[in-house]
Amino acid sequence: MELVQIQRRLVDYTKSLFMEGFLDAQFLQLQQLQDDSNPDFVFEVVSLFFEDFEKLLNELTIALDQPNVDFKKLDSHVHQLKGSSSSIGAQRVKNACIAFRNYCDVQNIEGCLTCLQQVKQECYLVKNKFETLFRLEQQIMASGGSVPTIELGF
């Protein structure tokens, strides 16, 4: 495929992620922090997020599996995940965490269990999206091109 076509594809794909709510403006902030002296910043931060997510997912699962669920502990884990997802612009994950915290507040186990599944799903979905994004970027770089910056109307 031509370089120009891949670049077009990346722009369209990224825009679609914003349109579908997977990403919000905070992701643009991350991209703006990437430059020649930090060419892999976005990849590094996003990778850290998913590493952290796996650990948190484990903690959340264990916490919900207890005979007496410690909702405070549960909430603090979700708070962490909410913070991280918000910082990288993973909007849907962040929103899922907000819903999760609401159920923690009222100590609703069923609600929490549902939210855990929701959070998991959203994380894996956006992980997939990021992988596609990075793959397209790599293709562009490999062809000697530069990754186009996204300008959003909103």
Binding site: Q26, Q29, L30, Q32, L33, N38, F41, E44, V45, L48, F49, D52, S76, H79, Q80, K82, G83, S84, S86, S87, I88, G89
Partner: protein
Amino acid sequence: MLSCGGGSGGCSKDMAVELGDEPHVLAVDDNLIDRKLVERLLKNSSCKVTTAENALRALDYLGLGNDRLEGTVSEVNMIITDYCMPGMTGYELLKKIKESSVLKEVPVVIMSSENIPTRISQCLEEGAKMFMLKPLKQSDVKQLKWHLMKCRN
């Protein structure tokens, strides 16, 4: 979103940052991703950055901890800390800093992902220079640096 406290600069001559110098900022946050983000944001604004993953480590670094490192205390021009941290909160860290004769003039900025007005006023009353909502953006840090550079004679 930024909330600022106090009318005057509140910075002593010793803590003045000369134009052209790179201010040294201590960033405290228990969240790894947020630490990385704030570090990058500050470095992009030409600040020298040291990070700490909790308040106790921060206090040790500042020479206020139990494991006092005599003679190795680094000079810090600003401290930016998360509010919600396990163990000691950012608010408690702020209080400890303001209680110290050596460090009370160092501007402290509190960050939080939660917009709670009582929390904000509590921090500002305790002497925080600013309260910032997470996630941080480049424009927030630029404003912050501007305020920091303003603290000079």
